[in-house]
Amino acid sequence: MEKYDVSDPSDWLETHLTEFAPFDAALRCEVCKDYYNTPMITSCTHTFCSLCIRRTLAADGKCPICRSNDQASKLRRNGAMEELVEMFKVARPVALRLAQKEKISPDRSTARPRSKSKRKAADADLEEEAQRSSQKRKTRGQSRRDAPTESPEVMVIDNEEDGDYQPDDDLVPCPICHKRMKQEAVFSHLDHCEEEQEQDRRRARTRTPNSAKPTLGSSKSQLSSKPPERIAELSYGLLTEKALRKKLSDLGIPSWGSRTLLIKRHTEWVNLWNANADSLNPRSKRDLLNQLDVWERTQGGHALNSAAAPNHADAVMSKEFDGVGWAQSNKSDFDKLIAEARRKAKKLGEGQQESEAMMKEEDEGSSKARTDERSTNVKTTNESSTPVTAAPPPPYLKHSDSLERAKEKIHGSRRLSDASSTSLAPEATRPHTEIRDSVAENGAEGLSAEELFRAEERRASISSFSPTHTKGAERVPMLKVPEHPVRDVDGGKS
């Protein structure tokens, strides 16, 4: 079963090495968001995994970053990036462990605000919980990866296979396993070597980085030993279905299905094959056929048409994903938003009677649909004892326990606000801190909820909107981690 690497640049944000987050991100392909796998550089000098860019170019012939036209045949290997990535992958778990250890040590209190850039203090506990569980998930994955790559081993391999230190023995190293042999023996050796490599890889995939580095060092011998053959792309328009079918069976891949499917399958095979030919550690054809089979089940002829239907591959992935971590992080996220909504609902509730009176006024002569909405709205707020929503719950709510909880909480908050608006119940005094928070958020301290609401209206009617929320979010695009995670976004708003 394949290991699923869910590492992410943001892992560094919770450590002392926050500067590693953008570094980590720079080593990842923008298409798959994972570390570059056989990085290739385009004519427009953008870098992607070989398979990622080949698939993209096969789909629309354009670089996904700058949209320049390009062709797969013009791709060139980005060897320096490949080496960088492989070395970083070895160093990462070690560095991350150290950086996390440091966080637990004495100055933990100073570490926290640094890493909680966008987060609110009230959510810290929930987040910590989520963090802990993701940590657990991570270390579980890592221990597997770490074990065979402890530093001594890396040193030994560096030593014996660094290109500069090759013994003067007239032998050349196999480009795959680096065993030394007579040059003419390399070709016949390669056949067995792939098999052995395959087994090795199964035993410890983590060695790939080690074997990648020396291969780069001995590129001269590689040039002479194995010029990888690419499969040519076809002009499908010129081929009859029969000819196309024959092409596929000549390549040794399934040749059943409609013409469209044949074309899709051939394209995928060309991409798989050629990306593999780009690789410093090419896999066996059997491996590629397995990959094609996965494609067949997920996107090809055996895929279910419905976009929503689960498939086997997904089920496997789910199992590998830590179930507890999944549920918990989801929960904390939903709770976060719900806590927010609840706070705001309270604020709304405070000014509700007044605003309803106001709205009734405004409603004179408005559309029928809206009057209907209003009446259900008023009805619900009056039925303070029974927690029934005005509208049927969105279908979405049925799918998620978290949202059921969310709904309950919103009902809860409605009951609270109803209570506080009919009688001055203790609730009116209790949520002081929460109200203060939300007032501060809106930068309008001292205003009543209704005044706030009106202020919103006034501001909204000014045609140039200022979506501060969005700007804040845009400051942290997916692959560009904030330069100074220290900055307190909330504080900056006031």
């Binding site: 944000l13 298409v31 996965v294 997920t298 005005a390 919103i410 609401f453």
Partner: protein, 166 residues
């Protein structure tokens, strides 16, 4: 055993979003069995009639994601020029560059495999603040937004309240 490109990438995105969520945005798969259907909650941007609201939506990903974009549909009442009456969201980042149903979107704003769920949700958030009425999905909402802004905003605020169960 190799897993599909799309599911792997979606897991990666889910990881990123849970690790480091943007302000006011939450998203994740509806269930562990199907990574291709997500739910998202978007907070209404401040200083707009959507402020204070939390808007649930469903995202459906195609099998060839990220080559093709997902679709997005609000599962709550949403009165907005760029949201169809059935909740489907119509913005350029959800349209592949090859197909431009609206004939006005520049290719650079449209879907590319380097886009992400996060970028979609951020775009939708800013769409809430600044509707694009050039080629509206909801013609009535667009007209009202242009001509009777006050009425438009009242409907939006009503929906916000309704969504919060108030």
């Amino acid at each position: 055993m190799t897993s599909s490109v799309a599911s792997k990438r979606l897991f990666q995105e889910y990881r990123t979003l849970t690790n480091n969520p943007p302000d006011g945005i939450t998203a994740g798969p509806v269930s562990e069995d199907d990574i291709f259907v997500w739910e998202a909650l978007i907070q209404g941007p401040e200083d707009t009639p959507f402020a204070l609201g939390v808007f649930p939506a469903e995202l459906k990903f195609p099998r060839d994601y990220p080559l093709s974009p997902p679709s997005m549909k609000f599962t709550c009442d949403m009165w907005h020029p760029n949201v169809y009456p059935n909740g489907n969201v119509c913005i350029s980042i959800l349209h592949p560059p090859g197909d431009d149903p609206n004939h006005y979107e520049s290719a650079s704003e449209r879907w590319s495999p380097i886009q992400s769920v996060e970028k979609i949700l951020i775009s939708v958030m800013s769409m809430l603040a600044e509707p694009n009425d050039e080629s509206p999905a909801n013609v009535d909402a667009a007209r009202m937004w242009r001509e009777k802004r006050g009425e438009y905003e009242r409907i939006v605020r009503d929906n916000v309240r309704k969504g919060l169960g108030l």
